[in-house]
Assembly symmetry: C2
Homo-oligomer: 150 residues x 2
Amino acid sequence: MSAAYKPRLRLWLRLLKTTQWIEGEIRERFRTEFATTLPRFDVMAALHRNPDGLRMSYISGLLNVSNGNITGIVDRLEDEGLAERRPVAGDRRAYSVKLTPAGLEDFEHLARAHEKWVDELLTNVSAAEAEELTDFIGRTTPERQIEAAE
Amino acid sequence: MSAAYKPRLRLWLRLLKTTQWIEGEIRERFRTEFATTLPRFDVMAALHRNPDGLRMSYISGLLNVSNGNITGIVDRLEDEGLAERRPVAGDRRAYSVKLTPAGLEDFEHLARAHEKWVDELLTNVSAAEAEELTDFIGRTTPERQIEAAE
């Protein structure tokens, strides 16, 4: 144990509480304002960042969510005409998923609301402070972890 | 939307990734080194902070975990002799839970490992930086939220 373990532990507990607070607020607003869920938003965000399509197994790896849950979310997106699944050429068991034009539009609407909520929730952090803090956290976290999560 | 929404959004995404990375590491180490889970550790931590006992309903409120999950965790702690449940005087349906001496000892062992992991995971953050960052995050998050989470 290093001499810094106590301030590091306090930092971790504070980071966790703040993240849980913001995440809880976002989850609640998705539910009440759009009758949708955060995991579904996360799946749509991953598909939006990859307009050429993503394999199901890759989505679950990206989001740390089980394949079963991803399947349920993608099934519902497909039923609502927001996503489509196509077989992957050369791999009979694999499917690639992409958002439809309606799905892209729906996601962009949700993403604007999400940006606005985050802007409000972090209203006490100035633009300069936010940039400084983002850089600092990036420097203190192993690069491979940040990349793996992206 | 304010002019600062983009840096705030980047900060939020970075906070989320870092928290998820640290939480994932801790979850994995509890699993591999102690064959235990993070929710169980969180329940034991809440009981450790409240040596006079906590009502079941209060634990689930503290941890944002459903009463059913708390019941399962407390059942197993009780089976292993690490916690005990007692009826609350004057409320026939309520139970209060506390750690037994063996439970206190077991938790303290886990807590030392947890402190060590956090110390290692945040090794790039100096004690002074950790203190500064903890204060900064505290100032930017509404006080009532920090208190509610404690």
